[in-house]
């Protein structure tokens, strides 16, 4: 899957949980999921579960904890799919 395609799918998932809807529009790989998009930290668990469903992968806790930015998520998913 092309990286920008993965990015689009990741943003679609994170967008459901983002309180800052304005920040979704201009989000880049450097956008911080909690701080910039204002996703409630408890909901990161659900974001990871949605990644698992969408990309048919398994994400362990350690990998999940390392996801801070949208780019981190895209990199993680690309690595799992490789």
């Amino acid at each position: 899957m092309a990286r920008d395609e993965t990015f689009g799918k990741v943003m679609e998932i994170i967008g459901r949980y983002a309180k800052n809807k304005d920040a979704i529009e201009g989000a880049t790989e450097d956008t911080n999921i909690l701080e910039d998009l204002k996703v409630n930290s408890a909901r990161l668990v659900d974001v990871i579960l949605d990644f698992e469903d969408e990309f048919d992968i398994e994400v362990d806790d350690e990998d999940a904890d390392a996801v801070n930015t949208v780019g981190d998520a895209v990199t993680l998913i690309e690595a799992k799919l490789a």
Binding site: R16, L44, V45, D46
Partner: protein, 425 residues
């Protein structure tokens, strides 16, 4: 000196209507919200009808963010729509997420009888049993905890006073109003969102069905299934929904210059201790009379001032004894007995939400000067026959209507009685 408490906003999500005007219209016209529920056929329930609010999911999408909806089961959706409606009806704006101001003087008592058992049945139990705990996600606890709805409402509206949930079975909704009014009366809060919510789920209704307390005889004619006060009453029809009342100190309401619907004159709560014939499932008749008497004393009125009784009246065998208790407690003869009606005849038994949905019905009756019909009791129960003249089968115009007493009785032998009076400047 206790401060006076008034009602300045309301929201209702009921099986026969959503919103105050639609609900008043449905109540006036005697519109039933009881419907056939296909899954109850499939699962071989004895009772296959229920009261379920219609069109709620579409509405919820207008009211809440996508991530909020992911954590909202039916009880949350009903309760939160009703709370938001009560809030805006009381003249407040919904706060923005990034506005850090908190309403320190507003709290909430939003109860539930059973809680988020649909989430437990649909998600928690099957997934845990399959060893898929990690797949449950972050939204289970907030949907199954008893205070889940009040917690969600406090975030939607930035409430900063006491935010809690009460639970006293079928008296929950009425109890919540008395608890909130008490807090305002004592000067501990200026405004409280009070009421109850109960989800629509066969998992909630199953236990009642197995107890054989639900109506089994009218599965083919749902609108006729809920028959309080009737000789052919065969058990209650399960209901669901929510209602929230915005209670406010009279000082605060007058200072804000807002419309006042009615005053909460007084109320009482007690328990029969499972004695004198009372049990987990049956009321101690002494405690019922005592609760009614204490509510009247608390309101500081005479028994003769009660114009309408909005009873607990579920359509079980307890209806005749409830009517006898009212006659005793009010020292009323068939000639002096107030008008009596059962909102459950149209919406079924909303369990933890019942007292709240029915209290909103009371306030609408006070506002509109009418008593709504008690439907499906053309064949009044023989033991209630002496009081048949007090039961409206069509909406009864009562332009002088001033005072309504509302009761809620619940499993555990618990009782709640509240008295509302029309507000006149």
């Amino acid at each position: 000196m206790r401060r006076r408490v008034v009602i300045t906003g309301m929201g209702v999500v009921a099986p026969n209507a959503i919103g105050l005007d639609a609900y008043e219209q449905a109540l006036r016209s005697g519109t039933s919200g009881i419907r056939h529920i296909p899954i109850l056929d499939e699962l071989k329930f004895g009772c296959r009808v229920a009261g379920v609010p219609q069109g709620v999911d579409e509405m919820a999408e207008q009211y809440f963010d996508e991530d909020e909806l992911l954590a909202m089961n039916s009880s949350h959706r009903f309760g939160c729509i009703a709370a938001v409606d009560a809030w805006t009806d009381a003249g407040f704006e919904r706060p923005l997420h990034d506005d850090d101001r908190v309403h320190w003087e507003t709290g909430a008592v939003i109860g539930t009888g059973i809680g988020g058992i649909d989430t437990i049945g649909d998600r928690v139990v099957p997934m845990v049993d399959e060893g898929r705990v990690r797949r449950l996600g972050s939204t289970m606890v907030e949907q199954v905890m008893g205070s889940g709805v009040s917690a969600r409402v406090s975030g939607l509206l930035a409430l900063g006073n006491q935010v809690t949930a009460n639970s006293s079975a079928c008296s929950t909704g009425t109890e919540a109003i008395i608890e909130g009014a008490g807090r305002i009366g004592a000067g501990l809060a200026e405004r409280m969102l009070c009421g109850g919510t109960e989800g629509s789920s066969h998992y909630i209704w199953a236990g009642f069905d197995s107890m054989r307390v639900l109506c089994r005889k009218h599965n083919d004619e749902p609108e006729k299934a809920s028959r309080p006060l009737s000789a052919s009453a065969g058990g209650f029809v399960p209901g669901s929904g929510a209602a929230i009342l915005h209670l406010e100190s009279l000082e605060s309401a007058q200072e804000r210059g807002v419309r006042i619907y009615a005053e909460v004159l007084g109320g009482a709560l007690n328990c029969g201790g499972h004695r004198s014939g009372g049990s987990m499932t049956a009321p101690n008749p002494v405690s019922v009379r005592r609760c009614i008497g204490q509510a009247i004393a608390d309101a500081g009125i005479d028994k003769g001032e009660i114009d309408v009784i909005n009873g607990h009246l579920t359509a079980t065998g307890a209806d005749p004894s409830e009517v006898a208790a009212w006659a005793d407690a009010l020292e009323a003869t068939p000639e002096t007995f107030p008008v009596i009606n059962s909102t459950k005849s149209m919406i079924g038994h909303g369990l933890g939400a019942a007292g709240a949905m029915e209290s909103v019905a009371c306030i609408l009756m006070l506002r509109g000067g009418f008593a709504h019909p008690s439907i499906n009791c053309e064949d009044v129960h023989p033991k209630i026959e002496p009081y048949a003249g007090s039961i409206p089968h069509e909406a009864r115009e009562m332009p002088e209507l001033s005072t309504i007493i509302k009761s809620g009785f619940g499993f555990g032998d618990v009782n709640a009685c509240v008295i509302f009076r029309r507000w006149t400047e």
